[in-house]
Symmetry: C2
Amino acid sequence: MKRGEHQPQTGPRPPDRERLRAELVQFMDRRGLRSTEQRRVIIEQLFGVTDHVTIDQLLESVRAVDPRVGYATVYRTMKLLAEGGLVHERKFGDGFTRYELADAHAHHDHLICLDCGKITEFEEPAIEELQDGIALRHGFLVRDHKHELYGTCAECAKQSDVKPGRVKTAHR
Amino acid sequence: MKRGEHQPQTGPRPPDRERLRAELVQFMDRRGLRSTEQRRVIIEQLFGVTDHVTIDQLLESVRAVDPRVGYATVYRTMKLLAEGGLVHERKFGDGFTRYELADAHAHHDHLICLDCGKITEFEEPAIEELQDGIALRHGFLVRDHKHELYGTCAECAKQSDVKPGRVKTAHR
DNA sequence: CTGCGTGCAAAGCATTTGCACCTAT
DNA sequence: ATAGGTGCAAATGCTTTGCACGCAG
């Protein structure tokens, strides 16, 4: 139990991941990247895990398969995959970068519980539209966006009830 | 020219800052904080600067007044002010923490230009409403939120036109 | 006077990088 | 063979902290 520990994620998701696999192969090919044992294991774990993994969580599961893999390799691999648009890099402000697969389900935003660390996803097309309107009005070309709600999830609220006075403490 | 450099901010803003001053005094009083020369200068600079300053930018302007102030003091002071809810801490993911005054104007979100670094603000009550709806639906108690659009601002788009191929490079 | 606040330098910590070795291709 | 990958340890860069001194109350 150490860095970036948090609760398990929300439910399963539709694996339209075949397309992702194909894109991955295509990307590695295009860039002339080699298929090494380490990369294979990392990618396998990434596909296996539900979501929003930190480098440490990922490394842990990778080492369960091959204990010889180092931090640097995971960092380098994730950076590559992010460049290739195969994973999304998420920074929720607690100091750990998290990664999630860029499958079709990818277009969503996040609810982050400051008490238990659980990350839930949401999607709201109406917000996207308003957002596009704002960008348009500013002549701004959106390449990426981030919409996150930080607070207390249903379970935590229920369990500890009001619990006043700790507003920023739990974060980080 | 060094860390966290970026373009000047968008226009002036209504200084309802009198209330903020009052809150500040109240906060320092409540916590038994001392009014030192350093804190006074830091706060003065903070009130004077338009927006979204990094620690370095702030320290620079502080040192223009009193060259003897150290990094640590600025960090510590900003942390205090953030705890007191007098400033907001913003992390746009480029590695620098930025601060902005928590005046009445504070309820807004950000457009961040990845090319020139300019930060523009926007406000969209309709989004807030949808957001509240989402939280409600999830039984989630929102304490804070973050809504940011990353991309190319109008000026940069005009000036360099399409310029394809550099999508993640400019950031940081 | 007393203890909070400060400056400096050192420590922390996630992430990146240099380098010698390794291994896909 | 040979250039790209890897592991390790050292380096980065922002932020925090320990400690001795200084100054507000």
